[in-house]
Symmetry: C2
Subunit: 230 residues, 2 copies
DNA sequence: AAGTGGTCTAGACCACGTT
DNA sequence: ACGTGGTCTAGACCACTTC
């Protein structure tokens, strides 16, 4: 049974749904009533129900009340750590090599996303992340030098570009996409595999209040799985 | 400047970090002090700081206080909808075909994860999800009939197994993994592509309080991208 | 031992959306 | 118009962890 604590209340609400007492699509009592029933303050009940709503278990709307979701949207929270920390977290030794680092004109697809007004100077990097000396991920990165002044002074062979950016350009927002792609010439060479091998690719585009900061493609070595719980 | 509302406070805290007033690794004032400074109740400040901590921006520990994260762990929240809703959400017409549906003995790798005590009866399904009549995702699913009694009575050509499970076995937990894999014989045939083509694969294992319910592998058509914002 | 965040309470006002 | 959830307040007690 539930105590008057919000985790206990969440557990009891989940039990009622699981046991069919509250069915998908059905309305449940208002939070004032539930607070009375559970003998807790409305704020406590609110926190429990709000978190269940954020998790996609409940649908809440003012006036309409609270319902059990008909189609609970599973939400998987992926933690995207620095590649270095991801590797060290597995007990492996991290290292990285900068394969290419140049200030060059960007191809049209990149320009469109990184340099919308055409004035920015861009830095292009190829970098290989190693775990216990074995290739772990291949990084293809564009950096907007206007958004990250000072990175030209950094020793990117010592600190990875990702890590420098995290420390020096904090709190950016952006998009992230996950996909499967065949290995291209550069990645195949880096991993020592055949071109066309299926690779897991993460593409991140980060901005700092609309200003593009960096566009990065991380291609992981064959066999990589990104895992989380739901 | 911030009003005494928690979103406003969050925005102001983020601004102070972005503008370097509060640096990564540094402690920020205690929430009682900040509440005084912002002229709000401690509970309001608590909610703002707590949400920023959940987002990985701040590190909070009793007695030790609140610090700006040195390595903010980016958290990407992926919403995993029903395949039908994902397709209909793009304005396309959903359909699905059951390619195979049999109660058969499972191979060892499956048995280990779905049938640990060796007593369960398992149902095996191959299913193709279509968007505007084009193959969208290939589903390879095992279902524990002990956890989902009644699914044998369902018409899985009308309602997909996924949808039936969501409606009838609510509130399960589990693991999810994302990977890239070469197309096998079945998926290559289903999508009309060459074997070995890089496919984006999602593997979900769901349980209901330790009891395995279903193990599903969804292989998406070439070009699929799973996108979210961070 | 003491300071910090974690939580709960009882009450209040308000925004929103259904009616 | 009115019922519901969304939020804020002022205060309190407690748990954890560092000192």
């Amino acid at each position: 049974m539930s105590r008057a604590s919000y985790p206990g209340i969440k557990a009891e609400v989940l039990r009622r749904i699981r046991d069919g007492e509250w069915k998908p699509g059905a309305a449940i009592p208002a939070e004032t009533d539930l607070a009375t029933e559970f003998g807790c303050a409305r704020a406590t009940m609110n926190r429990a129900l709000r978190e269940l709503a954020e998790a996609g278990i409940l649908d809440r709307r003012r006036k309409a009340g609270t319902r059990v979701s008909r189609f609970p949207v599973r939400k998987a929270t992926l933690e995207i750590p620095l590649t270095r920390l991801e590797i060290e977290g597995q007990g492996l030794t991290y290292a990285h090599r900068v394969l290419k680092c140049r200030q060059i004109a960007a191809p049209p697809g990149i320009t469109q996303r990184m340099n919308p007004d055409g004035t920015a100077r861009l830095l292009h990097l190829f970098c290989l992340h190693l775990a216990d000396r074995l290739p772990y991920a291949f990084e293809d990165r564009w950096i907007n030098l206007d958004a990250a002044p000072g990175i030209l002074d950094a020793d990117l062979t010592t600190i990875s570009a990702n890590e420098w950016l995290v420390q020096n350009v904090p709190i950016s927002d952006g998009d992230i996409a996950f996909m499967a792609e065949p290995a291209g010439r550069d990645t195949a060479a880096a991993f020592g595999i055949a071109e066309g091998t299926a690779l897991f690719v993460v593409e991140r585009h980060t901005r700092i209040s609309r200003l593009p900061v960096t566009l990065v493609r991380l291609s992981y070595a064959p066999g990589y799985r990104m895992v989380t719980s739901i």
